[in-house]
Subunit: 165 residues, 2 copies
């Protein structure tokens, strides 16, 4: 039995007690969360979000990549969200390497250099500010007056606010 088989089995249990089949498509609380993909960070639990409440966008680092800008644009323009919450965290994998280092190891193994940035960063607090600047200066995201940024502490479960627009 693979891990994916185990996830399918878990879904059977979820489905059997499922009661939320009538939620509307637009997020009820009109908020989009942009967070790191880290396994220890569960945005729904950390922020008290129920199904239907919020868009949750996640990638390595929780950075405002073009793809995160794309997702936030769709979230606001088509699905009515108005607030943005950025969540980075302590002990992040993005602090453990550099783009140059990872690209060199990939070139050595595959003979090909990725044409994109890996977005490694040395400091999660500083990168929250970078992330929010990219959001605020995007010409495509209409609502940037309520954008707030946090670092989640994986040791204590608590959020520290580091930036508010």
């Amino acid at each position: 039995m693979t891990v994916t088989d185990e996830l399918i089995a878990a879904n059977t249990r979820y489905r059997d007690s499922f009661t939320k089949g009538d939620l509307p498509l637009p997020p009820a609380r009109q908020v989009a969360v942009l967070a790191c993909m880290d396994a220890r960070l569960d945005p729904a639990q950390v922020l008290g979000l129920a199904e239907g409440d919020a868009h949750v966008i996640r990638n390595a680092g929780g950075v405002a990549s073009d793809d995160a800008i794309r997702s936030l644009t769709i979230s606001q323009r088509l699905l009515g969200t108005r607030s943005i919450v950025v969540v980075h965290h302590t002990d992040c994998g993005m602090e453990t390497f550099s783009d140059d280092q990872l690209k060199a190891s990939i070139v050595a193994e595959t003979g090909q250099r990725p044409a994109f940035a890996f977005e490694a960063f040395p400091d999660a607090r500083a990168d929250v500010v970078q992330t929010i600047r990219r959001i605020q200066t995007s010409p495509f995201i209409p609502h940037t007056d309520d954008v707030r940024g946090f670092v989640y502490d994986v040791r204590t479960g608590s959020l520290e606010e580091v930036f508010a627009s």
Copy 2:
């Protein structure tokens, strides 16, 4: 009190009962989930994932954008994941518009055309297959022998498998 203030208050409650401060950085179950940002889809609950189990990457549609490829590359090469689970869902916002239409409305409002694709798609099942093809043909993702794709039914809470590598 804004919605973000409410999320901070919810975090205080989470923090006060937090017991998972000693989890390691690499995901325990060596799996990365790529899912849509949709508010009704909570990957942790749908798939039975606890904190520490899995990387969760999310964007509009759950597509294999360059940024998702970036995140999966980091997940496998630096943090030891081996399996990938793709989750799209029924009643997806990505089925409600076209790239041309959204770009035209943004140009009309801002005078500027986004230089990236919005990745709208007409059919979630077909797009799961597209997403997995992009993952499997990426030269940077080393482990593509266990990639499986699902459509989550937001009305019933159940997963339908549509593709396995």
